[in-house]
Amino acid sequence: GDNRSSMRTAADLVAYKSVNDLPPQRDLMIHIDQKNETVLLPIYGSMVPFHVATIRTVSSQQDTNRTCYIRIIFNVPGTPFSPHDANSLKFQGSIYLKEVSFRSKDPRHISEVVQLIKTLRRQVVARESERAERAT
């Protein structure tokens, strides 16, 4: 399935080659770098990049105070739909970041982020599975 192919290639996909390739830091908010297929998350005052291929799902929720919550779940080995593969075997013993959730006061920004991540992820997964198919 989709997860399998994205996991297999996640090891080869690199968000940035050097520290200076990161986009200029604007506000400390979730940012999508479409060119580099990367999601940047504000963690403790720094923007932390995650390649979109490491992401499994993204969802958002809004409470009555118009506060928005966004949850990003990453690919980890050994869960249904992402069985152990070449990648997890190669990095045996690693600890995985599995999930992050953020709170935001800006529902429009959050729904935009969710849409962008979903679209970007779909594109990358489609491209990579096509590549895998061509290789076989």
Partner: protein
Amino acid sequence: MADGQLYNNISLGGRGGTNPGQLKTDQRGIQWKKQGGGKAIEVDKADIVGVTWMKVPRSNQLGIRVKDGLYYKFIGFRDQDISSLTKFFQSNCGIAPEEKQLSVSGRNWGEVDLNGNMLTFLVGSKQAFEVSLADVAQTQLQGKNDVMLEFHVDDTTGANEKDSLMEISFHIPNTNTQFVGDESRP
């Protein structure tokens, strides 16, 4: 080295984002003041136990670990500031700053390192991010392999980030040997 040195546009990093200010060094230690007043930090040179440098996008980050386990992050140093500050720490505190590297590969697997109350997530021996366990409201074990950290809701006015971290969880496969059967978990 008796003379004080002033560094402008130095931000204090942390949970609620970054705050711009000014950093000063003198024979007593280092002082940081928030631009426009308000928050100030004074660190006596005798209390400094560790100093790190890290290259961050378009800037350099100074990390200062103090005796009681607190850890300060200052961002905004130019390349040429590194040598003067490194000299300062060497001659005044007898500490040689260590160099850390930032991971920008975008991977979500690596190692977890616990030092003082800081939890660092390392990807390929480079630092991806760090969080302070002092801000963790509770930890939960989910299933056999997942650990969730829930952060305090930070409503202080000092917070200037638009999106705030609420929860983070790590998956520790059975193949990991670092935290095997360790109930105190990360």
